[in-house]
């Protein structure tokens, strides 16, 4: 007894907890825990430890592992403990193994036998303990070992056992549905169990089953409706009431099931309307749980076959949620709105201002939810506003995960609804600028494709305008620091392709810019590669047009630098460029035709155009080509006449067609084709080009092709695009085959034509009618309609109008007057001052106009000093303690030492702690005073005793770290 403290644990354990609590750094904590691990390792292996001690060691192991340290040395002892006769030890053993082991752990096999035995025990508590373990530890392979017993237990006289058996069976179903398919009917049976707890538990597996296969359970609609009706009529035992609601958790589960069953099924839905309406009416919207049920009702309504009356009351409930001051309810309201607009899109308009408020709310969760809603309601009429907003938000956040999500949503919406290509390009520019490294590289290729293809209609002027504006915007952006690589690639490609197309910019200007880019990003080979190829294109266009090319000195040095690069890809591009510049206008024009990136590339798979050449070579005495399959392993080097490039290419190259690459895979340029076709497709990672280019470039540029029969070409085939492999052999007789400098042939029309029809200008003028927020609302919700009316319906919100709204244009004549009019309307309706936090409202039952406003009052805890630790500390003490808490984070330590008695405060009750001035319980405004608290309140005597005990134990909280014992109670 002497070693045992009042908390049922030994002094050692108390000391451990205490010293960990006082640890000032993670390192110190780790040291302490490691010491504890060593102690436990030693002790637990000792022979003949008393069982009670062993139990404590196991619990200490659990504790150690909770703190993140390896306790695996003790797993086996936990397993052994499950074999123990004593329920206490057995339970401890089971607890430890469920926390330590996963279902595939090797030790599980040692437990299965015990579980089997325990499931048959006469003591139902033993059975329960075993069922708990079953839920966690049994995997697919061991299910058969316990399945018969579990099924048997479904009929156990004790409801606690039946309940857990249902759960265990459900778990089996989740693990391996095939092994229990024949037992599914048991769930239906258990639905009719006498005990409401068992029935409630059965709803979980049934919900899963129904979600997977609705049609087999349509017959249960009536049963569920009846159950819900009975629950709502308070037929369940009183003990299931929670905050005056009859069994709300069960109601919620039932509503979830009904919404699945009634989805898209008119007949089933009709059976549910009445009970659903009743439930909705009965919801107590002053309590959190009441609103939870109400929210579930809305979800159900929006999932059923539409019923106007129910939709109406759902809409009312939503507007109550949205108008609430609780962020939780606003969140639910936004979520519910997102569901309801699917069947009733027009209700969004009614709530537009509330939605915009949520968009500007400081709560990130709410904001994200609202963006989700906006994403759902995007149409071609509001896409601009929504995407603008999304981009603004994307820029403002740091969370890469969410940034990526928003960026891809912007892209998706842009591609789907873009009103004009110009807008699309600008939007994409923004997305790339701020999240370019996060978006899928495909997006970059889509953008390039869009610019290359233009409107897809035969409107060349529009196309060239689009390109000019793209070029112009890129030239503006290009100088900015820290542009993402993907975006720079797009920029380089567009500048190379269209930089000089409209004649506004001189080649030397563009090439200068490109050189700057390459220099500024000298560590990014990909960007450099794009830049070099872009340079090549510009020079070739010049040569093809018959103009003389003068290379800027910086270009020259860039090319020199790059041709000595470690990256063979870069090297190759540099050599290509040098080679192209040396050719005549005709040849260049064939290699690099102007604006041909979208041309299909014809591929002559049989390489028939080489037949003549081969024939000639054979006549001259060359050996015929032997396919690889027929070749012996030995290389015939004598075949290879390295002096003649042409000859070399015959002998060195493999002439059978390379495997057709997948269109989306990158194609590679070869030195000879000089095609710049690579940019539209993902460029391979740096590890590949080395291989690729040895294979491709060695035979033609250097004369040492002898080795390339040995090259591993499997990687190459994957990487080579069509243009490459078809034109590779065409090498030196270069004009035989024309390769477009374009891209993948699998071009997809990228912009929705419907979106394009929408006139950009006309929408704009609508937007200007009212003040900014109104404007935003209108543009979001598509309303040209009646701005004033909307204004008055929710006028107090408008008064908060803020400048976040996108203010696109001014100056439409009508706009000014209507704007002033709207503003005056607003001022007539000042915001109702319900949110007065200065009023201490303590009970939640007091009648009030808006329960949530009132709850908000609950949070004003500074006014409310009544309940807290009144018994423990003297009245005079209380203010001290308060201030102590206020200072706790910074200077709490010295203070607390000065006030040894302050430990009293640590024993105030958890729930009364809600009203403590400095604690942090005020989240969300749903901290309703609990019945328990009202009846019980703080227990000063118990607290004092506990405190006394704590101090006797030598863990006086006033020592190093008061926070440890600040504890639940504030």
């Amino acid at each position: 007894m002497s070693s045992q403290g009042g908390f049922g644990q030994s002094k050692e354990f108390l000391d451990l907890v205490k010293s960990i609590g006082e640890a000032r750094s993670k390192a110190e904590e780790d040291r302490i825990v490691l010491r504890e691990v060593e102690t436990l390792k030693r002790r637990i292996a000792e022979p003949e430890i008393p069982k009670r001690k062993l139990k404590e060691y196991i619990l200490r192991l659990v504790y150690v592992e909770m703190l993140g340290h390896d306790a695996s040395f003790g797993y086996i002892h936990a397993v052994k403990m499950t074999h123990d006769e004593s329920l206490l030890l057995k339970r401890t053993g089971y607890l430890a193994v469920t926390l330590f082991l996963n279902e595939d752990h090797d030790l599980i096999i040692l437990i299965v036998n015990t579980i089997q035995k325990d499931l048959k025990s006469d003591n139902y508590l033993v059975v329960c303990a075993a069922l708990n373990a079953v839920c966690k530890l049994i995997n697919e392979e061991t299910i058969p070992a316990v399945l018969p017993q579990v099924v048997e237990l479904l009929g156990h006289p004790k409801e606690a056992v039946r309940k857990k058996a249902v759960m265990a069976l459900h778990r089996f179903y989740q693990r391996s549905s095939s092994s229990v398919t024949h037992l599914i009917s048991n769930f239906r049976k258990k639905l009719c169990d006498n005990d409401p707890g068992v029935m409630g538990a059965t709803l979980c597996p049934l919900f899963d089953l129904i979600t997977i296969d609705v049609n087999s359970y349509k017959d249960l609609v009536v049963s569920f409706v009846n159950i819900l009706k009975q629950v709502a009529e308070r037929r369940l035992p009183k003990s299931y009431d929670y905050h005056q609601m009859p069994a709300p958790f069960i109601q919620i589960k039932l509503l979830k099931i009904l919404s699945v069953l009634g989805n898209g099924d008119k007949q089933a839905s009709e059976q549910m309307y009445t009970v659903l309406g009743d439930s909705m009416r009965k919801c107590d919207s002053t309590s959190n749980i009441g609103n939870a049920v109400l929210y579930e009702c809305i979800c159900c309504v929006s999932s059923l076959h539409p019923n106007p009356k129910l939709i109406e009351s759902a809409a009312d409930a939503i507007s109550k949620f949205l108008k609430s001051d609780s962020h939780n309810l606003k969140y639910m309201g936004i979520d519910a709105l997102g569901r309801l607009i699917k069947i009733s899109p027009e209700i969004a308009e009614k709530h537009q201002l509330a939605v915009i408020d949520c968009l500007e709310d400081p709560d990130d969760t709410l904001k994200r939810k609202t963006f989700e809603l906006l994403y759902k309601m995007t149409k071609s009429s509001n896409v601009e506003v929504i995407v603008d907003r999304m981009i603004d938000y994307m820029i403002s956040i740091n969370d890469n995960h969410y940034k990526t999500e928003i960026a891809s949503r912007c892209v998706e919406l842009g591609e789907q609804f873009a009103p004009s290509n110009q807008w699309f390009i600008q939007t994409m520019n923004k997305v790339f600028e701020h999240a370019g490294d996060l978006v899928n590289i495909k997006v970059a290729h889509n953008l390039m494709r869009l610019i290359a293809e233009g409107f897809g209609e035969d409107d060349d002027t529009a196309d060239s305008q689009l390109r000019s504006s793209a070029v112009e915007s890129y030239l503006r952006i290009i100088g900015e620091p820290k542009l993402p690589s993907a975006f720079l690639q797009v920029i380089c490609w567009v500048l190379g392709e269209y930089g000089t197309a409209d004649g506004r910019y001189s080649p030397s200007y563009i090439t200068g810019k490109l050189c700057d880019v390459a220099e500024a990003h000298s560590s990014d080979d990909m960007v450099k590669a794009y830049a070099v190829t872009a340079l090549m294109k510009i020079y070739s266009f010049e040569i093809a047009a018959g103009r003389k090319v003068e290379m800027l000195p910086e270009c020259q040095s860039l090319i020199e630098e790059v041709s000595a690069s470690h990256s063979t890809d870069l090297q190759q591009r540099a050599y290509e460029l040098q080679a192209v510049i040396g050719l005549n206008a005709h040849a260049v024009g064939n290699i690099m035709p102007l604006d041909a990136s979208c041309e299909d590339i014809e591929i002559d798979k049989s390489l028939s155009f080489l037949d003549n050449y081969v024939q000639q070579a054979l006549e001259k005495g060359a050996q015929p080509y032997i396919p690889e399959s027929e070749r012996s392993g030995v290389l015939n080097i004598s075949n290879f006449r390295s002096q003649d490039q042409h000859e070399a290419s015959i002998h060195a190259l493999r002439f059978e067609a390379y495997e057709l690459p997948k269109p989306s895979l990158p194609s590679r340029t070869t030195p000879v084709t000089l095609a710049s076709s690579t940019e539209l497709v993902p460029v391979p990672e740096p590890s590949y080009p080395r291989e690729v280019h040895q294979a491709a470039s060695v035979p033609s540029l250097t004369d040492t092709g002898s080795s390339d029969l040995k090259l591993r070409l499997d990687g190459v085939q994957k990487k080579w695009g069509r243009s490459t492999y078809s034109s590779a052999p065409s090498t030196s007789n270069s004009d035989s085959h024309r390769t477009g400098n374009g891209a993948t042939p699998d071009v997809v029309a990228s912009v929705n034509s419907k979106a394009r029809e929408v006139s950009y200008a006309s929408r704009r003028s609508q937007v200007e009618i009212s003040p900014e927020k109104q404007k935003l609302a209108a543009s979001l919700f598509g309303g040209t309609t009646k701005p004033e009316k909307k204004q008055s319906s929710s006028g107090h919100k408008v008064s908060k109008t803020n400048s976040h709204a996108t203010d696109k244009s001014h100056g439409a004549k009508g706009a000014i007057s209507s704007e002033t009019h709207a503003v005056s309307t607003t001022t007539l309706q000042p915001p109702p001052d319900l949110l007065d936090l200065g009023e201490p409202i303590i009970t939640s039952n007091a009648p009030s106009v808006d329960p949530f406003k009132q709850l908000e009052g609950l949070l004003d805890l500074t006014q409310d000093t009544s309940v807290v630790n009144s018994g423990a500390a003297g009245a005079t003490k209380a203010p001290d303690i308060m201030s102590l808490y206020a200072e706790m984070p910074t200077s709490g330590q010295s203070d607390s030492v000065a006030n040894p008695l302050s430990s009293d405060i640590y024993d105030a009750t958890l729930i009364s702690g809600l009203s403590n001035a400095t604690n942090r319980t005020s989240h969300g405004g749903n901290t309703i005073m609990q019945p328990t608290q009202l009846s019980k309140g703080p227990n000063p005597k118990g607290s004092l005793e506990k405190d006394a005990l704590v101090r006797q134990l030598g863990v006086n909280p006033s020592s190093q770290n008061p926070n440890l014992f600040k504890d639940l109670l504030g």
């Binding site: 592992e65 993140g68 926390l99 966690k136 857990k164 905050h243 958890l910 109670l969």
Partner: protein, 166 residues
Amino acid sequence: MIRAVIVMNDQGKPRLVKFYDYQPVEKQQELIRTIYGVLCSRAENLSNFIQADSIFGPDARLVYKTYATLYFVFIFDSSENELAMLDLVQVFVEILDKCFSNVCELDIVFNFNKVHTILDEIILGGQVLETSSSEVVKAVEEISKLDRASNGSMLVPKSISGWTSR
């Protein structure tokens, strides 16, 4: 389905950790740290919900509630109702309060095995098993009664009289 229940104090020290899908110890610690970081960054008077898809994978939500120095955190997926989860946290804490009469952080630290027992009566295998607090309290009491009988020693801390009379 509920993925995890975590109780930690405002220093980020875990007090109760229960994952319903197995997570290796290191992963658990990482998750706890991440969650703690997120919770710390939340101002007061915001909603109690966090979309946790970046922490727990797609569809994960998180509900937290602060009681004195403790964060109670439930992580679950879209098949649960956020507001209801918030109330389930409340149910859990009310039950703790009943079982420990005036529960404080110390109770949870020193009796986490009992807290696990309580939690197991409420949530089993990630599903809500029982929501009636009196039912849970009844079940837990029966277990502790038997425990005490079988062991003859004290499990519950409230046996302070035994201590003081010693």
